[in-house]
Subunit: 299 residues, 2 copies
């Protein structure tokens, strides 16, 4: 499969999740209109949809129909979107721009942004409890809910954000930085891959283990690349100011280990991720291509 | 059953939920410690536990073992607690005191309070997906998750808070005030009763309908009584400043209809709630007593 073919598939998945998100979000013409409008503004903003793409790519490796994955893909993107809206708040990272547009609390107001995050979080679980196209087996749905709850809770994403806030201006060791990243970003990346696996009718234990290890490696590589782009990326391409981590005194991987070491570590983790996919054979090709995209992207 | 017997049962339920909440909350000695400490501070604060009590009372009416209800009772109290932590934030109601103690963002900081709310919300769904004592039937668990998600989302609690914020300084009709209350407070009261019903092995359709109508009536009565207490309650008993609604220009029931009319409406809804319980017969006695407690309380 050429890069062009992957680019087409990526664009197809991105268009697919965009339609699914728009369909699952409450209409801005229904009460409470302003809250619904702010939810749609915060989600339908041209994001890269990394987590849904990982779900579709993992599903493709496991032979799962895309229609059975839409609900899980929406749920994880709602969780990701809520975390961005809350992280951008003045009391948190205090960011004014997100993907080239005013952040939710700038475009609306702080109270609305808090509620948008709260409402997007619960919408994620509502979709998993309800979406008629998800696997009809209730036990599989419960597993989806359990994975998403665990990976977005205090030992996952929310815990990572707490560690991140506590780390500003502190000296962290590289392993502490990696642990923070494993929670803050890695948890939802792992959730994406493992939720797709939970949608499979059956999955060999060694495949599940391979996918979990793959997700852990690629999640960390992805976050390191994010931090590298914050140092040397193009603000116009990224749609947000660069240098924000340094300005906040955040102990990122490049800040602690240096830029060259950060790039080496991302490349090493990328190679490790590809190696973990071995047991899945040729079927995992989409996941390999997604991995390249995640680590070699410029935006 | 005398009032004393009910008071004993109430105290027993309150002690029971306190133990269950403490057991389900992450330990403050585990990382991220500060977040976990703030979560425990925000939940284990001597609240009345109205929603868990409603779950146990409904369960008692339906003959469900209390041990099967603990998970649902914790889940709904975590949702209620998260909503209070977020509602108290400076960008929302800006309250410094809650049950006689500094609110979460005062005792900790705003960023932590935002994360505490986020983490309590997801913990609620994690408990419903995982608690081993809940009904083992996965379909019943999914129903619990669906009820809680729907009643706390934009057509329930979060939507009610959005309407509440939008209403400050506005003129609302009585029916608009009642709609706002039905979302903001009524939704979780209804969720409490209906989640207990979802834990029953089977329930007659007319009993489910009766319970839903009961919950809608008592939920509104409860909120009106809350607003009445904000006007004429004892701040020392309540553990928070009174007159806050008026200070915020909130169109509460007493503000729109007058204090006497508000009390009459609460009494009328209370009587209606008791009437709805008819089909459940003597078994519903605990729900009748809880209703008296909710509407005749002074704190």
């Amino acid at each position: 499969m050429t890069m062009t073919a992957f680019a087409q598939r990526l664009a197809m998945w991105q268009a697919r999740i965009e339609r699914a998100l728009a369909a699952h979000l409450p209409s801005a013409t229904e009460s409470p209109q302003r809250l619904h409008e702010a939810m749609r503004y915060s989600v339908l903003n041209g994001g890269k949809r990394v987590r849904p793409v990982l779900i579709y790519a993992t599903g493709s490796a496991l032979g799962i129909a895309e229609s059975q994955l839409d609900g899980a893909a929406c749920a994880i993107e709602f969780i990701h979107a809520y975390s961005l809206v809350h992280d951008d708040l003045p009391a948190m990272d205090d960011d004014d721009l997100r993907r080239g547009r005013p952040t939710c609390h700038k475009a609306f107001d702080e109270a609305t942004a808090i509620l948008v995050g709260d409402a997007l979080q619960v919408l994620a679980f509502q979709v998993l409890a309800r979406d008629p196209n998800l696997p009809s087996n209730p036990a599989a749905r419960l597993q989806l809910i359990d994975i998403l709850a665990t990976e977005s809770g205090t030992t996952g994403m929310a815990g990572g954000q707490a560690l991140d806030l506590a780390s500003e201006g502190q000296h962290l060791s590289l392993s502490e930085v990696e642990h923070m990243h494993a929670c803050k970003t890695g948890a939802l990346i792992r959730a994406s891959v493992m939720m797709a696996a939970a949608c499979a009718r059956e999955i060999a234990p060694e495949s599940a283990t391979a996918l979990r290890r793959y997700a852990t490696a690629i999640g960390l590589a992805f976050q390191i690349q994010d931090d590298v782009l914050d140092v040397e990326g193009d603000a116009a391409l990224l749609g947000k100011a660069t240098g924000a981590d340094q300005a906040h005194g955040k102990p990122t991987y490049p800040a602690v280990a240096g830029l060259a070491a950060a790039k080496r570590r991302a490349a090493e983790l990328h190679a490790q991720a590809l190696e973990e996919l071995g047991p899945l054979g040729n079927a995992a090709q989409p996941l390999r291509e997604v991995s390249d995209w995640l680590v070699f992207r410029r935006q």
